[in-house]
Amino acid sequence: MAVTKHTLVALVEDRPGVLNRVSSLFRRRNFNIESIAVGHTEQPNLSRMTIVVEGNDAKVEQVRKQLDKVIEVVKIVDITNDNPVARELALIKVKATASTRSEIIQIVDIFRANIVDVSPDSLIVEVTGDEEKVNSLMDLLRGFGIREIARTGSIALTRGGAGPLQVEEVKAPKQLPKPSIREAETPPDW
């Protein structure tokens, strides 16, 4: 069976130790996490985990089912085939001299990335996009000398509708959802 990347999205109860339960299950079932990103959701008592894993369909399905058994995992869905919008954020510290700085800035502009720090001998580039975009920019910057990279791992939403993770039991939040400015800036199909 073909080994592909899968994006699993889990809604979990916001309690201490949940991340440990999820991550240790991967280790115990001999399964590697490519990336995991955790953050709050529109619902106050729930966190959202976006987990990117590599494996064949059967193995990923097995992991999804095992994760579903974790009591605090309220819902878990494999959204790989739902054509999700997936983004990650990377901070890249790249070596920059007076002679290379403007070239780097040009590349950064093409990628609609931002320069968020300028030092005499380096720049920090902030880039958002899908994994491929971040990799492409890193490849281009590598020639200048990358000093440090921090990547968040992928987060993802399915397009349109209420989403596969709609949890009926949880009451709707009172506060308004925050507008997602960054997503608006970046074309979905970059």
Binding site: E13, I71, V74
Partner: protein, 565 residues
């Protein structure tokens, strides 16, 4: 009304119907022990080692179907529970383990007898809790018993710091649990059940493989109805023994590494397998890629993660076995499979598995068979792990529902004696036989003291061959007859028993076997028999590790027997 954490815990235990706690005190749980006299309805059984508490709770849970409770202090008390918790986890046994923890200000400081037991037991519990606020305690107890006993049962651990046991808070026990992430599916999907019925109704060579899920679900009558209505032979897993009467005409033994060769042959040649409450463990399937190559598989299990985990499944049904079978049975067309049964009978005659060879020596198989004959099958059998376990599975016929208690998934030597304690406490009217090996018995024989202190009339049969027999058998068959560290010196078990105040007999002669069993049963109280058996007797059939089910090594022909060992 305000209550202390210790009182809240006891109130919760009483409300959950707990009658007995298997425990061992220590510093961190002293506030709880100090509270016990206020709750005389909670019987506390003092074990001699915490592992015994966990196995006893497990044995109690298996015997009664209700949660078994074990209790230990922090640190070493908690770690000693670990094997028993893992054992309960792999065999889906509802155990609630309560551990003391150092007081909250000391957590994380490597304090005296501090251990991260929730971290340690994370992969071997269905769920666990560290209670950091006394206000959470009542809810946690309620949830723990709910989680342990519903869906696919399993162990739940509650770790309670000493100061939480002492703090006071207004007490109210919750009526319900609120667990949005825990919603076991109890009823099978109607469309899947319909599909399963079609597959079963059109089968030519069907078999049922029934596992412990049938016992847990209490689906004895439903399984029997399905088998009789559709005329399908019932093969059980090892842990499924006792879910279908073994003397029933449709009973066709159990499958797997030491299963009957004819049962394995039936599985291999079947065209439809109805797998019920079982999980295709590697000891049951043999080489997975060669497992039942022609079969369409209907798999009924309450745990969705078990479906498709080890073998491909054609019709998965997630739900409680009893409910699913009730719905399924309505759609089953009465069938008959004469040709298939003729074939099966032929295989059964060609591959006898339960023949005891002629011998003057005390054969372990003969001992088990005589226990069956004397008790007429009316007993609960608790076994150790290894040869004694397999012989107990093979040579006793289990007609009574849920009459075999054994460590299947984890294969824990030393399970037998403490689990027998739990079984006897759960079934005080029943004759409980503990079938032990001389190796496993030495792992937990300190619990003889518990048996005497509680005056539990457990009958103990040690199948004493002076070896770690199953390992020796593997060394003989697969490691060139090199017996490395498997010969086992043992103490005089009769004197050991007598030192604890338990009457005992040693049996070295075949003619003494039956009278000794009779004597043990007649004695009103615990009794031990040390059966000194043929030292190098092997368990047959045996499917070599990594081989397919049909590649079993069967009972050697009589002339070869003398050459063995």
């Amino acid at each position: 009304m305000k209550k202390t954490g210790a009182q809240i815990l006891c109130e919760g235990l009483v409300r959950e119907g707990v009658e007995v706690i298997f425990g061992f005190p220590g510093g961190a749980v002293l506030p709880l022990y100090d509270t016990f006299p206020q709750y005389p309805q909670l019987r506390h059984i003092l074990v001699r080692h915490e592992q015994g508490a966990a196995h006893a709770a497990d044995g109690y849970a298996r015997a009664t179907g209700r949660a078994g409770v074990c209790l230990a202090t922090s640190g070493p008390g908690a770690t000693n529970l670990v094997t028993g918790i893992a054992n309960a986890n792999l065999d889906s046994s509802p155990v609630v383990a309560i551990t003391g923890q150092v007081a909250t200000p000391f957590i994380g400081k490597d304090a005296f007898q501090e251990i991260d037991i929730t971290g340690i037991t994370l992969p071997i519990t269905k769920h666990n809790y560290l209670v950091l606020d006394v206000k959470d305690l009542a809810r946690v107890v309620k949830e723990a018993f709910h989680i342990a006993q519903t869906g696919r049962p399993g162990p739940v651990l509650i770790d309670i710091p000493r100061d939480i046991l002492q703090q006071e808070v207004a007490f109210a026990y919750p009526e319900n649990v609120d667990l949005p992430g825990y919603k076991p599916k109890f009823f099978g999907h109607p469309a899947q059940i319909k599909k399963a019925a079609e597959v079963i109704n059109s089968a030519e060579r069907p078999i049922i493989i029934a596992g412990r899920g049938v016992i847990i679900s209490g689906a004895f009558a439903e399984l029997r109805e399905l088998a009789e209505k559709a005329q399908i032979p019932v093969i059980t897993t090892f842990l499924g023994i006792g879910c279908f009467p073994e003397t029933h005409v449709l009973s066709f033994g159990w499958l797997g590494m030491h299963g009957m060769a004819y049962a394995n042959k039936a599985v291999h040649n079947s065209d439809v397998i109805v797998a019920i409450g079982m999980r295709f463990d590697d000891r049951a399937t043999g080489m997975v890629s060669a497992f039942a190559p022609q079969a369409r598989i209907v798999h009924i299990d309450i745990d969705p993660a078990e479906i498709g985990k080890n073998v491909r499944v054609n019709v998965p049904i997630v739900g409680d076995v009893k409910n699913v079978l009730q719905a399924l049975n309505q759609q089953i067309i009465p069938g008959e499979h004469m040709e298939w049964f003729n074939q099966l009978d032929k295989w059964r005659q060609e591959h006898p598995a339960l023949v005891i060879r002629d011998s003057e020596a005390v054969l372990p198989q003969y001992v088990i068979r005589q226990i069956y004959e004397v008790t007429k099958g009316d007993a609960t059998i608790v076994t150790g792990v290894g040869q004694n376990q397999m012989w107990a599975g093979q040579f006793f016929f289990y007609d009574k529902p849920n009459s075999l208690i054994s460590s299947g998934g984890l294969g824990t030597m030393g399970f037998e004696l403490p689990a027998a304690i739990g079984a006897k406490v759960g079934r005080p009217e029943e004759t409980v036989w503990c079938i032990a090996g001389d190796g496993g018995f030495q792992m937990t024989m300190q619990e003889l003291a518990t048996i005497v202190q509680e005056n539990l009339a457990i009958k103990i049969a040690i199948i004493n061959n002076g070896y770690l027999g199953m390992v020796r058998q593997w060394q003989q068959l697969f490691y060139g007859h090199r017996y490395v560290h498997t010969q086992l010196w043992g103490p005089d078990f009769v004197k050991i028993a007598e030192a604890y105040g338990i009457p005992a007999l040693r049996v070295k002669d075949k003619v003494e076997v039956t009278p000794s069993i009779e004597k043990a049963i007649e004695h009103n109280g615990p009794f031990l028999i040390d059966f000194v058996v043929e030292p190098e007797e092997n368990v047959f059939p045996i499917v070599p590790p990594g081989a397919s089910l049909i590649q079993a090594i069967e009972i050697p022909k009589p002339e070869k027997v003398t050459g063995l060992g």
